[in-house]
């Protein structure tokens, strides 16, 4: 019978119990692969891309939105507005852009100024999302202050968070370290660059961000 087909039934269940349209923010420190992941999601589901990527930190200095991105798996789907946010950090040193990345003094100062504004925009935008895809570099120590601060704020607001343990294509990656560091949250190992395990990420996003939750009010 039509109404009991797997996809239809699932859509009805989702309509009654879950979220149909969610605002999902992609957050994390600089250079963990946020925009690479945003590009991967958009390329897979819309054929578009979000923005340019670079090895130089703070390449994304303004939040970028892409509306009405539908992610699907066999049984269900989730319609999302996705925001790719500037990397959050506690310091911005223009000399690093000059000495490490070869920018001119003028370019470095402009980039530093825009980067500080981007960090502020990222933090403020936490107020306006329904869920967060927190991107971490699985080759790095996960206990950074930025990760701790973002997770603490999401927990305080009771917002769902899914940790994308990125860069598992790198030899020294250790997604298991991330899983043991944050056992209270789902962690999906991925390579945003190669697309490895992206199907698991999409299924987990649909399941995790599609749930109905009550927001805490501060």
């Amino acid at each position: 019978m039509g109404i009991f087909r797997k996809g239809r039934l699932s859509a009805i269940i989702q309509k009654i119990f879950g979220k149909k349209h969610a605002k999902i923010g992609i957050y994390g420190p600089p250079n963990v692969g946020k925009t690479t992941l945003a590009n991967r999601i958009l390329r897979d589901w819309t054929g578009d891309i979000m923005g340019s990527v670079s090895e130089i930190p703070h390449e994304t200095r303004r939040a970028k939105w892409k509306k009405d991105v539908r992610v699907e798996n066999d049984a269900s789907s989730l319609l999302m507005d996705i925001v790719d946010t500037p990397g959050i950090s506690t310091k911005v040193d223009f000399k690093e852009f000059m000495n490490t990345w070869g920018l001119t003094k003028e370019e470095a100062k402009i980039r530093a100024k825009e980067a500080t504004e981007g960090v502020i925009e990222s933090i403020k935008s936490l107020e306006n999302v329904d869920g967060v895809l927190l991107v971490m570099d699985s080759t790095q120590d996960p206990f950074t202050q930025v990760n701790v601060t973002i997770l603490g704020n999401l927990e305080a607001r009771n917002l769902p968070v899914l940790i994308a343990a990125n860069k598992i294509d790198m030899e020294d990656s250790s997604p298991a370290t991330l899983k043991s560091a944050f056992p209270q949250h789902p962690v999906v190992p991925i390579s945003a660059l190669t697309g490895y395990n992206s199907d698991t990420l999409y299924s987990t996003m649909i399941k995790h961000f599609g749930k109905r939750r009550k927001k805490k009010w501060r």
Binding site: T90, V92, F94, A112, F143, T149, G152
Partner: protein, 125 residues
């Protein structure tokens, strides 16, 4: 290296001092001290919302040649015990270390220990 270069000020801030301040006063106090080259160890750290507020304030205060931001390392909040929950006690932030980013560098952090080093030549003003 001059005598001045060797002077590093560490201030240990008690829980009572922090508890006596509003969130805004805490951030003002921390930013003022850190911009003056002081390293602060807060016995009771900041809540996650205050930490985000401190990052925001820091970004507004960054000046290319004099202040590049903060190094901040702390832990999440301690969950209250069953008994504490009964008496309505909230989560409590754990110890936090905050200093100027040009002076303090985090080396390693795990669930029980924060290892840092002082970058020589940038003493307290």
């Amino acid at each position: 290296m001059t005598k001045k270069d060797l002077d590093i000020a560490f201030n240990l801030i008690s829980r009572q001092k922090i508890n006596g301040l509003t969130s805004e006063e805490k951030l003002n106090f921390i930013i003022k001290e850190v911009k003056n080259g002081k390293i602060l160890v807060l016995e009771q750290g900041l809540t996650p919302v205050e930490q985000a507020g401190l990052i925001e304030r820091t970004m507004k205060e960054i000046e290319n040649d004099t202040f590049i931001g903060v190094e901040m390392e702390g832990y999440g909040e301690d969950a209250p015990s069953f008994i504490q929950k009964i008496f309505g006690m909230a989560k409590r932030p754990r110890m936090t270390l905050i200093g100027p980013a040009n002076l303090l560098k985090m080396i390693k952090k795990d669930s029980d220990m924060i290892q840092t080093k002082i970058i020589s030549g940038s003493g307290a003003r």
